[in-house]
Amino acid sequence: MKQSAAACFLLLAVICAGTAHAQKKATAQNVPEIPYTSVPNFLKMPPNLYLGEAIGVATNSKGHVFVYTRSANTRLFEFDEKGNYVREIGEGLYGFEFAHSVRVDSQDNIWVVDEGTNMVIKFNPQGQVVMVLGHRPDVVAGAVPTPVGPAPPAQKYTFSRPTDVGWDPQGNIFVSDGYGNARVVKYDKNGRFLKQVGSEKNGSGPGQFNLPHGIAVDAKGNVYVADRTNSRLQVLDNDLNPKAIYDNIGTSWTVCVSQGPHQYLFTSNSNPNGNPPGSWANTGEIYKMELDGTIVGRFGHASKQFGGFQVVHMFDCRNPNEIIVAEIESWRVQKLMLQSPETKISSAR
């Protein structure tokens, strides 16, 4: 009797934790483990320069690594392909307040998404700002209370805590927006609004979102959205029509599509912030998939140790066998070398 009450309580606690953190154990079965090693001391920081929460990471065509981090100030650093420090970009920038994503487009322009200033900022490869999307809330309004209650209607050119950015081969821009709104917005390459899917309201139907937290676009222009609080990955066509939903990979925090003729889709079922009891056993892994949702394999696990993950926020998968992972709660960036052979089996969706 006592025992079952305790079990009930435990179950309740697990359910509560699951709800509060919107974290879900993946339902995919019999997924092969992909063996990997983590490159020791990959990023070499100069003395007196520290990463904070390693929020965004991306590589350019030369293999240089860009890290967008929440340190005392939010900052953007560049490293070479060996992890040697190169420079800081956008020092003191008006658009830098609370890092959320960095991505590099096919022309090696560097784009950051800042959910503190509600800005998406495009730097050219030299590190100069060449385009901005969104509008930082007016400073002159002073210290205004953090908005509570229903979000106001989503505006074409204003974001509400945007999360990520991607591009199709034509250069159209896709923004996941975000914590405040619950939509994906498409702009042309010159920053003009084309359309959106979703709205300021959360939803769980196709084409609705609850915290669209990451975005990636494949070579055909299909759009992959990490629909985090809905614990699923949504696929949209280039006109933002819902195409597919992958909901067997736990809670999709972030997505990445690799380059090359055979593209793979990666997504992270990150362990939740705060390490709630039991969470490490059920979450923390990254999935490698075919674009159609077939799972190729999984790798990684929740851990504070080198080689494990502590809340993966984003990763780079330009080369599908070299994954560069940024973690929130271990303030680090790891470079993972995935090993072959991989046993490809169909997922049990």
Partner: protein, 367 residues
Amino acid sequence: MKLTTKSFLMAAAVSLLLPCIRMAAQSAPEIRFDSVADPLKFPDNIHLGEVAGVATDSKGNLFVYTRTGHPTITIGTSRAFAHGGSRLFEFDKNGKYVREIGQGIYGFMVAQQVRIDPQDNIWVVDQMTGMVIKFDPQGQVQLLLGRKAEAERIPAVPLNRPAGGQAEAGGGGEGGGAARGLPGAGAQSDVFQRPTDIAWDAAGNIFVADGFGNARVAKFDKNGVFIKSWGSRGDGQGQFNTVHGLAVDAQGNLYVADAGNKRIQVFDNDGNFKAEIANVGSPAALCITRGPHQFLYSSNSNPPDDIDSNGEIYKLELTGKAVGQFGRAGKLPKEFGTVNAIDCRNESELYVGEIGNWRVQKLMLHP
């Protein structure tokens, strides 16, 4: 059937009429122009944010007042003290970076405008500190109008107070533009409510556009002694709905961008209403050229959260007759993102400062 025809005709008439009215506002001929690529060269660690002010001096040096860096409120203090968020940069006539002026100064928070007087003094208007700061050409502070609020109210007092309501200067500070008399009339002093612009007449009298909070123009002598102010919130003659910009011609007449009322109001040197110029959209930035035949440039700036409407700049005779117009809202070169400043020292070579696009464009007009 009859009814349907009638209502169809009415609808047709209305739909014909509406474009006609809009056409009238945009009937000015298109002025051809180009944008010079990369007009400014920066050190790696200097970045523009929202460009609020841009102005040249007599030597062609360029001054840019920009909302950049980190506006902050410190914690662990008796009240909420706010600092920073804007910087003033100087470039030479080739666009090469020269120096920063006023680094870390008390009066820089939300850049609003920079203008250069005939003696090459650099005048800065800061919207949030409510201050007008005069630097000499060497960059030393020479004259101050207004006073920064001591501390921030938390939560902040909303910008648009009810008419006749108690006005506060940014919250918690001294005075405030305490509403005496009509709403928006402000104090009979140099206490501003989010001022926007500054200009001088030939005698050196100072005119301040005031602004987003108040709805007045204030006149001071060249030593900063208050002479008078005029205006209140409204849409009548001599009333304003956001005094967004200001320019003075060689005769000392004032041209006031009355953005919310979609007009430019013209006053004589003592503030007597003379004329109003309409059909220029919502004027935000004004500039009057030099020389014997003066022209007025006025920007119908798009709001920062919309690039699908407005954005064009008008070139006008001082009588208000449109000479031409150019540009539209957007993010490409030759497009504009919320123009907040125009420098027109050279009539066909303009600098524009954009809030939406975080940049300065140098425009070559081909009239």
